[in-house]
Amino acid sequence: VAGVEVIQARLREASSLAELLAVSFDAFEAIRVLARSSEDTVPGLFAALMTTADAAVDGREAITIAPSLSWAPGSTPFASPAAADPGIETITDALAALGALLNEGWPMLRSVRPYRATVWRAQKPPGRPAESIS
């Protein structure tokens, strides 16, 4: 699937926490867009793809509040594949591959959780209460 390979490469090459968070954000967005674009294709996979897209939103939202993630706009928008492009099997393979890569990257994020919490408290926006990162 066009674009997925690029995100996969970025995920593998991420060398810092900020970079990993940024590319993870884009990866979750890619999963969401891919799953949404395929919801209608096979009725038997409707629930699975809906759930996948929803889980991708959960993942993206979890990353959004990470203090090490740059808040600046500029996430690389993932283009929804054209109808004639890949088959459902190609898309589900791409989803699975992205999911597996994200799973590999997350231990690194979990290991720095106290750091993230500290940074978050320091950087909390004015007028908003401190949030726990959990």
């Binding site: 096979v42 629930a47 939103v57 808040w71 500029g74 959990s134």
Partner: protein, 556 residues
């Protein structure tokens, strides 16, 4: 199973009939034993009539003319209260006479009083007292209970009881067993009580002679359930079709009750989060999609079972209506992909989410062959065989009832969620991730306020989804009534409740809602000047045009 009003009303009537049909000569002690039980019965009947939504005596006198139904209820109430007072006086004037509680008539009357009191308690579970003591609805059945047809049916049942008790009590005096050593005042009080009881029954009977309660209203009255959630039955993964259907009915009932119980809190943080509403929309989409699969399967099966052309057509219509519903719910989930209420505080799984999860599993397992099906199941879900889903016509009706209750629960949740989302939207609580904005927007927060157009589209999506869900429940209501399914009571209840809302305060409620919406829209159009000390809230700043150009560039 949840207890229903009929479980108490029926035996109460049977005990009264049994008591008044005992013709043997009772001793004076037994006759004295009857008086307290008669008093309990009369007092309970008076409380029933006192609960009816009619003006009290003073309000009625001030109001001028009342409707015939209200006047009947008021007359019956006055008569029963007077009878109760007389019996209370009779009890006091009896002194310390010896009472025999073992006589069958006394026991029957006692049991009838117990059943009637328990039945009233059941009805009262649907109401609560407001801050000023006024009665408030606590369930979706509350408006059914106070609806005109059900009120008439209840009055009719109470009148039947009174018409049996009044003449029978009068016979106690004629028999003469009481006259030995009983004060004249007691006899006079008993005479008054029996007369008042008869008057109450006769008043209702004569008023209902030309317009008796309908059979549907009587059925609905008997079907009113206690307002307690049935215990949760967690999906086991080994449930067969019948168990799945029973489980769907239980889960849907628990979901309905949970939705209403948490509705007052659902509009305020920390429970008011987009995560809850997003998950609800997701569950609604999956349930509607699987329900469509089930209804299509049943349509085919109805042909094989020769269920009749009418049933086949209604099933087909219901399936069509369902096919209009899930795309609307899916569209709402798409809106929630971008929108949120900001930082999720992680309050844990709500009661509604748990029940919704159970409902998704059960409806999905009804639709598909895999008995361990989950929405996240990676394999393609294969649809159940026709004969496996509904081996016989009765099974088909059970499955239809399950889909009906699930659709009803989805609609109930949708109504509550829509209100909560509306509150969030008008309260400037909808955001989107800053990173999803185009380059060049300088917003120093992880989230930025959502554009009004996005919020409007979300609310419009809820309106459309709600309309589609209502269409489905209407189609399934018709089907349930036509097939005499167990959920036909749900259909009748909705009819009564709708008529009640339209007749009483629907107009006022609609007006209030329209006013609040236009006010909120007006603020937004005007630019949403910063208020409540939230001048730094980027949502308001952006709405007010505080960040030049930024709002315009975010339209995509």
């Amino acid at each position: 199973m949840t207890a229903v009003f009929g479980d108490f009303l029926r035996p109460a009537g049977e005990h009264i009939t049994a008591a008044v049909s005992i013709r043997d000569d009772r001793s004076a002690e037994a006759a004295f034993g009857v008086i307290p039980q008669f008093g309990r019965l009369l007092s309970t009947l008076a409380r029933y009539v006192g609960d009816l939504p009619v003006p009290d005596e003073f309000e009625a006198a001030m109001a001028g003319s009342l409707s015939p139904e209200a006047q009947t209820a008021l007359d019956a109430r006055i008569a029963l209260r007077r009878g109760t007072q007389s019996l209370r006086h009779a009890m006091n004037s009896l002194g310390d006479v010896v009472i025999d509680d073992s006589h069958p008539a006394v026991r029957h009357l006692s049991a009838a009083a117990d059943f009637l009191a328990a039945g009233r308690d059941l009805l009262q579970t649907h109401f609560t007292n407001g801050p000023r003591g006024a009665r408030r609805d606590r369930s979706y059945w509350a408006q059914v209970i106070t609806s005109r047809p059900v009120t008439a049916a209840l009055l009719g049942e109470l009148a039947d009881c009174a018409l049996q008790l009044g003449p029978w009590a009068a016979r106690l005096l004629v028999a003469g067993t009481m006259e030995r050593g009983v004060p004249a005042a007691t006899l006079l009080d008993l005479h008054t009580a029996s007369h008042c009881t008869w008057v109450a029954g006769a008043t209702v009977q004569s008023a209902q002679r030309n317009h008796p309660p309908t059979a549907d209203a009587c059925r609905l009255l008997s079907a009113i359930p206690a307002n307690f959630p049935p215990p949760r039955v967690a999906p086991s993964g080994r449930e067969q079709v019948r168990e799945l259907c029973d489980g769907v009915v239980i889960t849907a009932e628990r979901l309905r009750q949970a939705a209403l119980r948490f509705a007052p809190y659902a509009r305020w943080p920390p429970t008011a989060t987009s995560v809850t509403w997003r998950k609800d929309a997701l569950a609604s989409a999956i349930i509607s999609h699987a329900s469509q699969v089930i209804l299509r399967t049943l349509t085919e099966r109805a042909k094989q079972l020769a269920a009749g052309a009418a049933i086949g057509t209604q099933l087909h219509n219901a399936a069509d209506a369902m096919s209009q519903t899930w795309p609307q719910w899916r569209a709402i989930t798409h809106h929630w992909d971008i929108l949120s209420t900001g930082i999720y505080r992680g309050t844990g799984t709500s009661a509604v989410a748990t029940e919704f999860g159970d409902l998704v599993l059960r409806i999905g397992r009804l639709a598909y062959r895999n008995e361990h099906w989950t929405p996240a199941c990676g394999d393609t879900s294969l649809i159940r065989d026709l004969a496996d889903l509904a081996p016989a016509l009765s099974d088909m009706i059970s499955v239809m009832a399950a889909v009906h209750t699930a659709a009803d629960a989805v609609t109930c949740i949708a109504i509550e969620d829509r209100e909560a989302v509306y509150t969030a939207a008008t309260g400037c609580q909808l955001y989107m991730p800053t990173r999803l904005l185009p380059d060049g927007c300088d917003v120093p927060f992880p989230y930025t306020p959502a554009l009004q157009s996005r919020a409007d589209a979300l609310l419009a999506g809820y309106d459309t989804a709600l309309k589609a869900s209502t269409g489905v429940t209407t189609a399934l209501d018709d089907l349930a009534v036509a097939t005499k399914a167990t959920t036909s009571a749900l259909a009748l209840a909705r009819q009564a409740s709708t008529a009640q809302a339209q007749g009483r305060d629907g107009q006022r409620r609609t007006l209030r809602f329209a006013q609040s919406r236009s006010t909120a829209a007006g603020n937004d159009v005007a630019g949403g000047s910063p208020r409540h000390g939230q001048a730094k809230n980027p949502f308001l700043l952006m709405r007010g045009g505080g960040r030049p150009g930024s709002a315009r560039t975010l339209t995509k």
